[in-house]
Symmetry: D2
């Protein structure tokens, strides 16, 4: 990831310190409803223990700010780098991702002490003048932590939603109902400008701004609902291989998939686990937790398709978004003139640019103000534990 050079020189010290503090507090507040045991487990490799997220986001500031820029900083524990590094090869060895859930230590209490230790050092450090590069780094760290805030919510949902007791987290994750017909917004063919053009924070993968030629197309003004998706299910969508990619069909057959993630059929009625507990599926609420494979198959069944990320970006002022990460047809690839920053932070985005799909928008779990129209999220096609949804498109 990279912020390139932040041009917004009006952003000043007190504002960033406050941003740092509030970001850190919000992370802790997401974890507040958890019992200690919930912090520890890792039911599948893609889901990390909440304790690990707390430690990892802290390690990010300790490793890239304090250790590198504060002369007499004393690391909280020399071994934490091994425990809390995620994937930065440049930053040394680390616990294999699949084994994060095997670690009972450091304890939750210790991890909070670690956060406190780093926060106090950060606050001292940020209370004095620092060069622009440092402010850029803080901004990156806060955005990084916001990304982990979203992962905390989705990982907590997975941890609780796969427990046979289906425990509640709290009043989150309710969907608002949709009561309008789906309409299609026509967009003219032509050259469009794509990518981040402002002066605020953004990731390196949103640059450089460049021109893209789009054919004329139409894009839906709202997301697909549970009811619309249930029609696909009822029509045998999960049984008709003609609707699926070859890999998608393997996915469905091998994992015996018959519905979105967290859907349970109880005595003939579909329910879904939400963070507020198990509830009957409401037909007029927005669909969530589908894979790219399912999104593609649904669109095929409708005789339509998913939009590309460029079509999405070109049209996004004309519809509401922010409830679901929306699968696009685009593969995650570098933009023209993309360049990654040197060193460890250069590992943030570029090295993942193969075999993943771009998602656009933001979800109910995304941190406030974290997303923007040029934001490029990305996941592997089979993943479903994010709050993902479907927006349809078609050729004119």
């Amino acid at each position: 990831m990279q912020s390139s050079t932040l041009k917004d020189v009006t952003q000043n010290k007190p504002k960033l310190l406050s941003r740092y503090t509030s970001t850190r507090q919000r992370t802790a507040s997401i974890c507040r409803p958890l019992s200690k045991e919930d912090y520890v487990v890792q039911p599948v490799e893609d889901v990390s223990p909440p304790k690990w997220h707390l430690g990892h986001t802290t390690w990010f500031f300790e490793q890239f700010v304090l250790i590198e820029h504060v002369a007499d900083y004393q690391p909280f524990d020399e071994q934490y780098s091994f425990v809390f590094n995620s994937y930065y090869e440049n930053a040394g060895k680390r616990v294999v991702r699949a084994h994060r859930g095997n670690l009972s230590r450091p304890t939750v209490e210790k991890v909070y002490e670690y956060r406190k230790h780093v926060d106090e050092a950060m606050e001292v450090f940020l209370s004095v003048d620092q060069p622009q590069a440092i402010w850029d780094l803080i901004e990156i760290g806060c955005n990084h932590e916001e990304q982990h805030q979203e992962l905390l919510i989705t990982d907590i949902k997975y941890i609780l939603g796969n427990n046979p007791l289906l425990p509640k987290y709290g009043p989150f994750d309710q969907s608002t109902a949709i009561d309008t017909d789906m309409r299609f917004i026509p967009v003219d063919a032509g050259i469009y400008s794509i990518g981040y053009a402002g002066e605020g924070f953004h990731f390196d993968n949103e640059k450089a701004v460049h021109k893209v030629y789009l054919q004329a197309y139409e894009i839906a003004d709202r997301l697909v609902t549970n009811g619309e998706y249930m029609e696909f299910m009822e029509a045998g969508g999960y049984q008709d291989f003609n609707l699926w990619h070859s890999e998608g069909w393997e996915f469905v057959k091998q994992l015996n998939i018959k519905a979105p993630l967290y859907w349970y059929n109880i005595d003939g009625t579909w329910h879904q686990y939400t963070l507020a507990g198990l509830q009957p599926v409401q037909r007029n609420e927005i669909l969530k937790h589908v894979s790219y494979y399912e999104a593609f198959a649904f669109a095929q069944w409708k005789g339509m398709r998913l939009p590309t990320e460029f079509e999405w970006e070109a049209a996004q002022a004309q519809f509401e978004w922010g409830q679901r990460w929306e699968w696009t047809e685009s593969a995650y690839l570098p933009y023209p003139n993309y360049s990654k920053v040197p060193g460890a932070l250069g590992e943030y985005n570029g090295k993942f640019m193969v075999n993943q799909k771009v998602l656009r928008g933001a979800s109910v779990a995304t941190s406030p103000n974290h997303s923007r129209p040029t934001y490029r999220n990305f996941f592997h096609p089979p993943l479903r534990w994010q709050f993902t949804g479907i927006r349809l498109a078609q050729w004119t």
Copy 2:
């Protein structure tokens, strides 16, 4: 498992109630040094989370005593059977063993409440007269829980000993030094009686008493030490395939095994993780945490062999035992006229009688008075997380 009929009619109500209570208390006391997080994790499939042991031993009494024999008993939570059943097919569906570490709920606190709930009901139940079959069942339950007490210790050691921080549990697991030469006790050829012949508690796999003809042999009067095993290592024992079973050699190569479990070579010096922390290996202490494959290869290298379980039992009065579970050459098979009890408890032993090796004796982690000369423990050949050791034998 089965106690067959307990003949010891002198064993009376107050004694068994007190046995129940003290057994249950000892289980909790083993867990006292743990942090809550330590209760939850499962680093490998063979190791269960301590929380699960606490729940499972409680479920055993709830399922087989209270639910079956107390008319108005209210189960603590209907779903706990699904969570805490281990492998009793007769007792319904259950969480797959490999997924025990994915469960953050029920919380540790809830599990202790569950124990309290069951203990209170048990104490009421045991305070009145019960038929002999009930007393037998209590005795089985206490023995079952003692087995899990040992597993708690070995599983805790695995959980902490595979954590990169190598945290201490407490002053356990110290080995006493050996300062005598190994001597071999000669045993004459002849017919020996094998199996449990008393009237106290025992498992079904110790019966029926039967005759076995043994050729003349010699058996070591003490266990192998670290120093003796290090000679094997230094002589290239882990590199010489001629010493190993074909499967043992695969085990060594695939897992890159070069020393007993918990041994770490730090700057050229062998250390071992103990529950009291990391310590240099002492050459004159008793070896522990080797697999059957290693025990066999070591014996081959010495030009000797492991004793059979019958040789061990026939000679056991003539040497000290109790520090380590001792690998024998015997496969775990039913004795003549073996019969398992009907119903769920019949699944205790018999269904495991294939592809396992018998271990005799007891270890420092075994519950007091839990073992006896006819006790038959059993594990798969590659397993090392129990406190296992080596006793040598040879033909006369």
Copy 3:
């Protein structure tokens, strides 16, 4: 795949019959140097036994032409559909791909009889007037068989090149030397037309013709040589994770990859297996048998990149191509207004449009006249058994 409607009405019956016959004969001639045993084996899942290719291309004509369009046609063997179907879900059940190498029957001789049976029926069928749709189908079948001709060559190379005896196939696979410096052709920014616009045969994935806006770029006038790639190897390219995608780095580490496929280091000198036998690697010959991951890492190391498929197509008139399939940076995705044909033939391309990379050009193994500037080949990023190579690009 799909030919859409072939507009070239000048193409007449005798010409297509002759095309059919010569295509079929060329397939058999590729197999002529093989021993019977070479026809049978399948060392890895991606490689099919030559016998299977012979049967599958025949089954294609039998299934989609003879059975559907010749009223009294007698299938050679009812069970061959099960054996020789590749992946057409619409055409019924089939032998799992990974098990093709387990089949000793039908014998090679029987498969050649099968070819003869179908060829004779086809020649009768094609000797009379047929509607245009039939001619289209024949054209598809011939193109399909040409694709399998290339796979035959690459699969035979894999079968022989992974045999410890490294047997020779024949005088194929020699590379011509390159003795010019690499020069970069500048291409202006602007809108370019992409996709097949002619009236001859083409696949559905080359349509629809559409506009693409390209930024200014430069593209190399020749492919990378062995010598240039050896500089990357000698500079530690396979050891520097910063050059690799995260998945590429896993690929290199897990498979312990240190050189292109078929390279063997013998006493310090790099050799490569070719169909003409083992030979020392010549530095000035064109590199072959690299994965996308390696192509990407090499370009990173050069401070350059791979071209997109659109850049390649827009510039292809200005450089020579045809020696190697050239990895592009483009993911394999549908073009605007892409539509697949109904029925089984619709499974040809569309269902593979996820997680694959586009390769452009053609290789020394490609059938004559089979490729064209708009041709889109595609493989998964780690695959190396095709004659793949690297063309560099960079931003202006």
Copy 4:
């Protein structure tokens, strides 16, 4: 394996030369009905390509006789040792077992040339006087080849019986009908002598002769029939976990096993593939192709058990045997005073003495005169491709 010292000094040169020649010829004659393609494939790891058996048995004589004892012997091909070594670690590196089916070369023709080359050298070598140790080695080699003759038959059956075309091999594998009730032979308790006591050829695992005390038991006078086994199937034997070992139950569930190997239910009628083709199952023929797990479960269902190998050996004069390898309850372990020969031949038996079950008797596929009452065959519990059957036993 080992013949220990052959005491039978009457066995002379001409007889052994003729034994060598006839053994070698019988191997080739077993392969005569095969097509070349049948020689090459390896559908599962336990089954080796017939070509490999032909080469391996030849390599055995080349490696252990000719190379070691004939001064000027020229190996046929230096690389064949790598290709045809089975598992002798002492004899150098080798093709991994699972990859034997990937090798199209050496061709079948070459392998027969190899046999001819070695046979000619052997005949020269054996036409002159040789020390007793050489004769012993020849005897071992012939017995080794006889074991592979049986494997050839069972592997050919697997190769053809898993081919969707179910091709015939020839008039083999017919079962004779049984028309007698099963009767049980009582055997008295007492000490019995076990192990090979003669002076002819035998393997090291049959020694030393030793005493075993047996409790009184009864053993069936004939093997179990298809009809008796079908009663078990019809009674739900494959669905009742109480009849199975824990590992056996996993085996049944994971592989979805519902009948013996090679049984196919066609329109409600059970058929079995035999080397003479697919045939309806005859109820009064002897059951074949069951695993140890199935044999155990069947015996449990009958309220009986399998005999131990000692019980089998002590009683074998009183019943007919030789149609099936009979699963026993005994684990494959060394006899008292077992010692393996030094060097590569010492790898023949001892290193497999863990996690396997002993089978006694012989099968219709066993080479004539190859077996004897003390012969100990051994396989892993789930294996079914040998001609295995069930003999019941029970306590008196």
